[in-house]
């Protein structure tokens, strides 16, 4: 900290970009919540979208905090990250666990997980059918399942039993507020849930196509990852999915998270510099990214197939849709993408 009580930003542009994103997230959250209490359905609809977007920006700011791009002192980044987990329903587990899993993703070049959802669906076919039916209606049921596990993390994940007191306290606080809303203001509770699912949908929309490798159940394992530090593999199997390659400002909607190759190449780059890093490292060719039209087509067409779409490395299943082949297939809307890859779910 330079002086005084306020933490210093890491970058000179930080007050403008990080400060602006933070202010927007908190204002959108507050105004959005207030708008849900209004009588007008039009105000309710706009407020639901505003709330959802405020939560989305809060989620991406947690990602920024995780990479310590916001403040000079890493302890300040951690404090802000922990604070923001309350705004996007990610406070049930710990911020440290979110970071741990995320950095295993970067360093091990893998999706390192505990929960084997493919096996879960094989053992629970009724649950799979219910989730498939809900996903057909665009309800993010697969990620709601992940969120359910996150809410009860210390009761479900043996390695997180030591977090039970904290977990119960967060459940009690958030649960009592939500059920009080449900009792006294049911419309507000329902619209909050809708906003939360919109946030989930935006996050999974972005995550879905950014890597073509599956998950491995090594989150709590000490065995070394076979791909650890293999940055050539990482580059080949990471993909960018901006909302627009030409009109860069549009990508601010998700804090440039679509420039994922740039993020993986230089993970401590703050969000507003990612488009420039992409152009510096990967050039100006729009053929190197997945167009938004293809992203929408995949999101719609494979919303049910995607439930098991990201669970296995595709080199065994379809050698043509792997690495550069995946990019070509994704550009044509011929891959399913994957679910349940949010950095907010730390297992």
């Amino acid at each position: 900290m330079a002086s005084g009580a306020l933490p210093a930003f890491r970058n000179p542009e930080g007050p403008l970009y990080h400060g602006g994103a933070l202010a927007y997230a908190l204002l959108a959250y507050g105004i959005g919540i207030a708008g849900l209490f209004q009588a007008s359905w039009l105000v309710n609809a706009i407020s639901t979208l505003l709330l959802a977007h405020g939560m989305t920006i809060a989620a991406y700011m947690i990602h920024e905090c995780g990479h310590n791009t916001v403040f000079q002192r890493n302890a300040d980044n951690a404090r802000l990250g922990k604070f923001l987990t309350w705004f996007c329903g990610a406070a049930y587990g710990t911020y440290e666990d979110i970071r741990y899993k995320h950095f295993r993703h970067h360093v091990d070049v893998d999706d390192v997980v505990w929960f084997d959802y493919e096996r879960f669906f094989q053992e629970h076919p009724v649950a799979l059918r219910v989730i498939e039916a809900l996903e057909w209606f665009y309800i993010p049921a697969h990620d709601l399942l992940m969120h359910f596990i996150m809410v009860f993390t210390s009761f479900i994940i043996p390695e997180r039993r030591n977090q039970r007191a904290r977990n119960v306290a967060v459940i009690a606080i958030r649960g009592s507020v939500f059920f009080a809303l449900l009792w006294f203001y049911p419309k507000v509770a329902v619209l909050y849930a809708v906003a939360y699912m919109i946030m989930m949908t935006v996050l999974r929309f972005m995550d879905s196509l950014q890597h073509d490798y599956g998950y491995h159940l090594t989150l709590f394992s000490s065995e070394p990852s076979p791909r650890k530090g293999d940055y050539a593999f990482e580059k080949e199997h990471t993909f960018s999915n901006p909302h627009s390659f030409d009109s860069e400002w549009v990508n601010g909607f998700t804090l440039n998270f679509g420039f994922h190759n740039a993020h993986h190449a230089r993970p401590i780059t703050p969000w507003w510099k990612l488009p420039a890093v992409h152009r510096e490292l990967f050039g100006h060719d729009p053929a190197d990214v997945i167009p938004f039209r293809s992203q929408l087509k995949i999101f719609h067409k494979y919303r049910v197939a995607r439930i098991n779409g990201g669970s296995a490395d595709r080199d065994a299943a379809d050698a043509t849709a792997w690495g550069t082949g995946f990019l070509a297939a994704a550009r044509e809307g011929r891959v399913t993408g994957g679910n349940a890859a949010s950095f907010l779910t730390s297992f």
Partner: protein, 69 residues
């Protein structure tokens, strides 16, 4: 404070190294006593197989952040 004191006391240029994955900073003046690295340990004296205590990436993923004279 520790950096200035160490720099003046030792007459050495003290360097800081930043992990390019997670933003962790290794400060030569402060070392990492919890990891068994004493204050004043130069970056070049840290073993090549050392990993970032925050994210586990290799030493080669660090870059010099600034010089503190």
């Amino acid at each position: 404070m520790a950096r200035r004191f160490f720099s003046r006391w030792s007459g050495r240029v003290v360097k800081r190294w930043e992990c390019q994955v997670c933003g962790f900073v290794y400060d030569e003046a402060e070392g990492l006593p919890d990891e068994g690295i004493a204050p004043g340990t130069r970056w070049s004296d840290i073993p090549d197989d050392w990993e970032c205590p925050d994210c586990g990436t290799s030493k080669s993923e660090f870059e010099m952040l600034e010089l503190v004279a």
